[in-house]
């Protein structure tokens, strides 16, 4: 029917769920399902990416295993979601990166950090690499600013390009509803829904994790991670403006905006990923796609590594450890950037696109 086992199973489940509908108040997946009577590949990938994996529909379902109808929506949609990342990856030649994602990310990260260390060592004297550098421009004694900017801009732009091409394929596959392009209102609604993780909520009580008592822990740790990431991104952006507009060079004093943003973000990127990893290790296996464990852990670990090396660099930037730490941090960030389109990072992009689509559908339904 659908070409993959998991999409066939997702289709079977959506047919069961569409004749029941008890879960329609829990999240966006079931109302979106109810707008359809039959499900294309694109529809199923849309529903899979709309699912936030809160687990409520599994715990609430009278037909979940051991019932013979064997309804496990969170796990099935998790597998379908992971497979959809590979299906839409750009270029398709790299879609295989998703299959053994943990391994791929570890290797890229290790290579990237090693390259920076070796590069620093090759291009700098021992006395410079292990020297104590302070004051504006200290970092650039190890790597010229323009080289750093060029390298990271290239990596970042590549990531953006690959993500745009991937999500474009997804957007086309899930079909544009009547009305055509995404409108401002739907995008704003999706930003709100994503920003507050509205559907990681079990319909109001929290997520189901290790047992049948719901909690909001995963949501909290995800917020710390996501907003930590955004703050770090903001810190880099402000520093870039300082550099080019004001002619002020890093490192900046601890009270200055880039450092304050970076410190707050760094704390989020250390605490959030640890919390998410612990929550994942404890989560009931029947709610998880265990085959994408490497992918989930790989990306979360990269975020942690980025935050952790960044915080270390901040603490020790006025010591002889600064050079090696800078190399490690830059290596981690570089690896994070270039693996972004081929790892768990894409979940946020696809889910956001799915939320925009859902907001559109709701608006056109309300309007009709």
């Amino acid at each position: 029917m659908h070409g993959t086992r998991i999409l066939d199973e997702a289709d079977r489940l959506m047919t069961v769920c569409n004749s029941c509908r008890y879960c329609e108040g829990l999240c966006a997946v079931f109302p979106a399902m109810e707008m359809r009577r039959a499900f294309s590949d694109g529809d199923l990938n849309y529903l899979a990416n709309l699912c936030h994996s809160c687990g409520a529909c599994y715990v609430d379902c009278q037909f979940s295993p051991p019932h013979e109808f064997n309804v496990n929506v969170p796990q099935t949609l998790a597998v379908a979601r992971a497979e959809s990342y590979a299906a839409y990856a750009w270029p398709q030649a790299l879609s295989g990166a998703f299959a053994r994602n943990g391994l791929v990310i570890s290797i890229v990260a290790a290579l990237s950090m090693a390259a920076f260390i070796l590069g620093f060592a090759a291009l700098n004297d021992r006395s410079v690499l292990f020297g104590v550098h302070t004051g504006p421009g200290a970092f650039y004694k190890l790597m010229p600013h323009n080289a750093m900017a060029a390298l990271f801009s290239a990596a970042f732009l590549y990531a953006i390009l690959a993500l745009v091409m991937s999500v474009r394929a997804f957007w086309r596959d899930i079909g544009t509803p009547i009305g055509g392009r995404a409108d401002g209102g739907s995008i704003f609604q999706a930003i709100r829904d994503a920003g507050e993780l509205r559907y990681l909520h079990g319909g109001g009580v929290g997520c189901y994790n290790e047992d049948d008592t719901p909690t909001d822990r995963r949501k909290l740790f995800h917020h710390l991670t996501f907003y930590g990431f955004l703050l770090c991104f903001a810190a880099t952006s402000v520093a870039t403006l300082y550099h080019y507009l004001l002619g002020r060079e890093a490192p900046y004093p601890w009270w200055d905006l880039p450092v304050v943003l970076g410190t707050l973000g760094g704390i989020g990127l250390v605490v959030g990923p640890i919390g998410l990893l612990v929550a994942k290790s404890r989560r009931a296996p029947e709610l998880l796609d265990e085959t994408s464990y490497g992918m989930d852990v790989g990306f979360t670990a990269m975020l942690f590594l980025t935050g952790f090396t960044g915080m270390l660099l901040l603490l020790l930037r006025e010591t002889a450890a600064m050079g090696p730490l800078l190399a490690l941090h830059l290596g981690a960030v570089f690896a994070l950037f270039i693996t972004m389109p081929y790892g768990k990072f894409v979940h946020g992009i696809y889910r956001f696109a799915a939320l925009v689509r859902y907001a559109q559908e709701r608006r056109s339904e309300a309007g009709s």
Binding site: Y22, R37, A56, C61, P66, E68
Partner: protein
């Protein structure tokens, strides 16, 4: 000897949990014995989705008021007067407070589900359905300190002159034990899953019945109580049955095997003959008659026949319709006699009078000159592919129960109230619901009498 509790609750559904929580809130030590494994806990509550409570004004989730009087009139209509007015009015009055009380116990509401708009004013729907409701009640009960045992099969009740003394229990691991308690709340449902018992009234036909709930609803507690002198109520031969898909599993297919499509086509038996007016009344009012009608047909099987023009007029179904490009081809797939089915459809089509179709009212599309007539929504079946659902009787619940007072206290056969035995839920629903059904009433009976029974049982135990 086993342990001793103030209140022993037998059963694990809505009524049992409301009783356990109310008894615990009343200061009693409480043990709940659920005969099913944890996954299948809760009897028919697992498959419910809403509750009918009276309310004087619209709420966040209810679109308008539903007064006590209106509720009473609805109950009177569906039961044809087979109800205990004092008990029923008491239940309806108490149902108003249940809307809030049940939320305090962790249950959450949502507006009426897609496809059930006709219930938006009268019925409150559980967010996530009946199992979500059960999960919330169990969490609350356990948090309050209620003990719960699963797979707890009660093999005997020790009752002396209307006084409960102990329950004998067979545990899966530790074997036989005896549990004493000061009061008993029996909330263990009916006997709809007990095919042998159903056969006493239905004969071999019961072998062809499908049971909509779990195989654990065997009525063993009900039988013990009646055998030990509790007064019975309700017609033992009657059960609530709807037409469900014949491909459904024998047990626990729940609500998703139902068919809403009868009014859009014709229904024939295994001889390809129509046997009842498919357009008699508005769905879902006549929903519950079709189980009984199919049960009366040979081999307890029937087929809803319609054409491709009406496919999107009803909810998507779990099992796809069986399709044929011609009536004969369809008949072949259904193992019906093609000539007979063609004749029935041709005669029906010829009898259809012109009219303006509107499935929301009793419209003027009807047949003339055939028996039985189709009095509304009759349209020709003439656009291939032709489609069919095979249906069998799906048994929801039984009406036989224990007679109780307003305090949910069981009455003995001699008319004397029991000293310490209470009943709630389906096991005593026959007091209020002598026959018929209206959506959400089972849960009202469960929650209202569960709470009363728990409160009264705790009061008795604490005295």
């Amino acid at each position: 000897m086993g342990s001793k509790y103030d209140v022993l609750v037998i059963g694990g559904g809505n009524a049992a949990l409301c009783a356990a929580i109310a008894a615990r809130l009343g200061g009693a030590s409480v043990l709940v014995l659920e005969g099913a494994p944890k996954f299948y806990r809760g009897g028919n509550t697992r498959h419910t989705r809403n509750m009918r409570c009276a309310h004087d004004a619209a709420t966040e989730i209810l679109t308008g008021p539903y007064t006590e009087e209106e509720f009473w009139e609805d109950l009177l209509r569906v039961t044809g007067g087979q109800t205990d007015e004092v008990l029923a009015r008491h239940m309806i009055r108490e149902s108003k407070d249940i809307l809030n009380w049940i939320v305090e116990q962790g249950v959450r509401w949502q507006p009426s589900l897609g496809g059930t708009l006709s219930l938006g004013r009268t019925n409150s729907f559980f967010l996530g359905g009946g199992r979500a409701m059960l999960n919330a009640l169990y969490l609350t009960a356990e948090r309050l300190g209620v003990d719960v045992e699963y797979d707890a099969e009660v093999t005997d009740l020790v009752i002396d002159d209307g006084m409960f003394l102990a329950a004998r229990l067979k545990r899966p691991i530790n074997g036989e034990t005896e549990i004493r308690a000061t009061s008993l709340v029996a909330a263990a449902g009916g006997f709809e899953a007990n095919i042998e018992w159903l056969k006493q009234y239905w004969g071999e036909a019961a072998d062809n019945f499908l049971i909509r709930g779990t195989p654990y609803n065997r009525g063993s507690i009900l039988k013990m109580l009646l055998d030990k002198g509790v007064q019975e109520v309700g017609d033992p031969t009657q059960c609530h049955a709807v037409a469900i898909d014949a491909r459904a599993p024998k047990f626990d297919g729940g609500i998703i095997t139902r068919h809403d499509s009868v009014v859009f086509g014709i229904v024939v038996n295994k001889h390809s003959q129509r046997f009842y007016d498919e357009g008699e009344d508005i769905w879902p009012k006549r929903y519950a008659i079709w189980g009984r009608l199919v049960a009366a047909q040979p081999d307890q099987i029937a087929y809803i026949i319609f054409d491709s023009t009406v496919v999107t007029s009803f909810m998507p179904t779990l099992f796809p319709p069986i399709a044929g490009q011609t009536i004969a081809e369809l008949a072949g797939k259904l193992t019906l006699d093609p000539a007979a089915l063609e004749k029935t459809v041709t005669e029906f089509n010829a009898a259809v009078r012109p009219g303006t179709f509107d499935h929301t009212i009793l419209d003027d599309c009807r047949t003339e000159g055939i028996t039985p007539q189709k009095t509304h929504w009759a349209r020709k079946i003439e656009t291939p592919p032709y489609l069919a659902y095979p249906v069998r009787p799906g048994i929801t619940f039984t009406y036989l129960g224990t007679r109780v007072t307003k305090e949910a206290r069981m009455l003995m056969a001699d008319g004397k109230p029991s000293a310490n035995m209470f009943a709630a839920g389906e096991i005593m629903a026959g007091n209020v619901l002598g026959k018929g059904y209206a959506a959400g009433m089972g849960m009202t009976i469960g929650s209202v009498f569960g709470r009363i029974a728990g409160r009264e049982a705790a009061k008795h135990a604490r005295n």
